[in-house]
């Protein structure tokens, strides 16, 4: 039925099966869209956010998907700027995952603001001193870069490629992709960093406040570093899941191992910096405001030292240790475990930098504020997952995402 649009040299499932997958993911998507419309038309009273929790699940999801989508800019940087040529076999997928992550982040932000029709004020009336302004500008621009990086892939579809103008357009965009990738890396450095800066500059919140360099708190650099370190792990994890779902090997081991090795070393250096930052904060910054470390990890029903261990040890040191060793990288089970732990680690980091910041009391007579999201918040947070599944399914079916697929899975 749609065989004219399926890339040459690969086999895809029957259209019926494909439509069933789309229908299931589409149902979840519609649930999310319904919740989104409720939030837009009835307001943020549909959520369980409150005056203590101005930032909640969505902002965490936003920060998390942007960190996980960091694989796109870093893989592109390695491929086009550093010249790691093997990564051309995974960079398409990294771009697609990044595109999904960033479009989701923008959608979440559009739902999260109280007056969505005024969203453009952040650009028009920009306060250049606000980290959030930097986030909005760089995020939007980088989404533009990802779109530019994704377009040539779409243009490689067999049906579209027959149109001469589109064929040449894709070809020309490929030719100067290094320029776009460099711009993307520049923008990513700033928006990943400014997302860290969002929490780090809050000098009224001792849990998140950090000293820093010039106008940038240390979290600025830690967020950029962690996105570059952990983002590729997410790309590799989704690649692994896609291989499991399709039942095919899609990327050669040497490519996976190369990206895993770079990611592992980035993670190892990041986690050292993170530990130093945590020690300095716990021993110098927080005490200078009258807080001890345990003030932030006790007297409440949820946040304990376990979350610090989960983030730094289980989600940082262990995956880094696995990925920097030759043995760990070469074992599919061990490296997949490392990818999962790394994704958990970076998500926990973003969680504490958003939700624990809101939860921890600052005034002595204030109390810990715990919150649970409403179903509308959960649905709109799951919405991007369903959207991602649909876009990946369509892209995988019709576009040559994995250049090594025909070689690894020859058709008899």
């Amino acid at each position: 039925m749609d065989s004219a649009f399926i890339p040459n040299g690969v086999r895809r499932c029957a259209p019926g099966k494909f439509l069933v997958v789309l229908a299931v993911a589409g149902a979840v998507l519609l649930w999310g869209v319904y919740a989104m419309l409720l939030c837009w038309f009835k307001g943020l009273n549909q959520t369980n956010m409150n005056n203590n929790y101005g930032f909640a699940l969505w902002i965490w999801a936003d920060l998390a998907v942007i960190a996980l989508g960091g694989g796109a800019f870093f893989t592109g940087f390695l491929r086009y700027i550093i010249g790691k040529d093997e990564l051309k076999n995974i960079v398409n997928y990294a771009v697609l995952i990044g595109f999904i992550c960033y479009s989701s982040a923008l959608l979440i932000l559009a739902i999260d603001i109280g007056q969505p029709l005024r969203g453009w004020f952040i650009f028009w009336h920009a306060n250049v001193h606000s980290m959030l302004t930097e986030v909005a500008f760089c995020l939007s621009c980088y989404f533009g870069v990802l779109t530019i990086e994704y377009i040539p892939l779409i243009l490689e579809n067999r049906g579209i490629d027959r149109v001469p103008f589109l064929h040449h357009l894709g070809h020309n965009m490929h030719d100067i992709m290094a320029v776009f990738a460099a711009t993307g890396a520049f923008l990513s450095f700033f928006h990943q960093g400014s997302l860290g800066g969002v929490a780090g500059v809050l000098f009224g919140r001792p849990f998140s406040f950090r000293e820093g360099f010039f106008i940038w708190p240390w979290t600025f650099f830690l967020f950029t570093w962690s996105a570059a370190a952990y983002g590729p792990c997410f790309t590799l994890l989704i690649t692994r899941i896609t291989e499991a779902v399709t039942g095919k090997k899609l990327v050669k081991d040497n490519v996976v191992e190369l990206l895993a090795k770079i990611s592992g070393w980035m993670m190892a250096t990041y986690i050292i910096a993170k530990i130093v930052d945590t020690l300095y904060w716990a021993n110098v910054t927080a005490p200078s405001k009258g807080f001890t470390l345990m003030d932030f990890y006790s007297h409440n029903a949820f946040y304990g030292v376990w979350i610090l261990i989960l983030e730094i040890v289980i989600g940082g040191i262990i995956p880094a240790a696995i990925l920097i060793t030759d043995k760990g990288r070469k074992s599919p089970a061990a490296r997949t475990t490392a990818f999962v732990l790394a994704v958990i680690g970076v998500c926990v980091n973003r969680w504490v930098m958003v939700l624990q910041v809101m939860a921890a009391p600052v005034m002595t007579f204030d109390k810990w504020a715990l919150y649970y999201p409403s179903w509308q918040e959960v649905a709109t947070t799951i919405l991007p997952v369903a959207y991602g599944v649909i876009l990946i399914a369509i892209s995988y079916r019709y576009l040559p995402i994995f250049p090594q697929e025909p070689e690894l899975n020859p058709i008899d």
Binding site: G43, L44, N45, M49, N50, N51, N52, Y53, G54, F55, D112, I113, G114, Q115, P116, R118, G119, F121, I122, H125, A126, N127, H129, S130, M131, L132, T133, A136, V198, V201, L202, F203, G204, R205, P206, P287, S288, K289, G290, F291, T292, D295, V357, M358, V362, M363, T364, F365, D366, A369
Partner: protein
Amino acid sequence: MKAEENHGNTKKFGMVIDLDVCTGCGSCMVACMAENNVPFRKDESDKLKSITWMRVYKLSNGKPYPETDICYLPRPCQHCEGHDGHSPCVSVCPATATDYDMQTGIVSQIYTRCFGCRYCMAACPYHARYFNWYDPVWPDGMEQYLNPDVSVRMRGVVEKCSFCIQRYQAAKDRAFMEGKTDIEESDYQTACTQACPAGAITFGDLNNPAHAVYKLKKQPNAFRLLERLGTNPKIYYLSSREWVRRAGDNYLKNEGPAKIG
């Protein structure tokens, strides 16, 4: 007391609240809501969604009877000056919807500019900023009682205590019509100050030696909330009780308000 930032010759409005005098009656909260058209809902049981520009906290020394002691602490927006007007909330607003006025020291909120990102709420350690989770709905006929000098706010924007800035504007207008070059201390007083039956709240120009707050803020028992964070607030509290002064900020075990200085 940490060195205050100086506005030079400009005004710097602030408050001194005597916690030994405050009875916790809540008149300041009621007056504030009436003056500033603060919206409310039929069901206000979820206090984390209530809007209370002025909120009275009940503090306890945590000791058992007979040493139990309590203190009521009214908490308006602290109108933080931070360092050179770099208050926690103003610097983070991405759309320039909140402003630190170097002429008055008042942190204002521009409701029609705010798009409801709530970053300022995350930045404020005093929980002095409130989000309009709902559209304001007034009981039948109450629209007639709204203050015409204060705009009502729409759903989806942040609001906060403005030091009744409309009264300052009205006082300036009156002074101009009367040919005066400046306003008197009594010309501009906030609603909460005037409503307090115990006279616990004093309001005025912290930079003006003729104003009561100028002297009161220098009392040895004066303190500000969370001074150690560097927020440099303009609300001073007075209390003769050491535990109350200690409750104003966070201290390590070996520290105390006097030692920090």
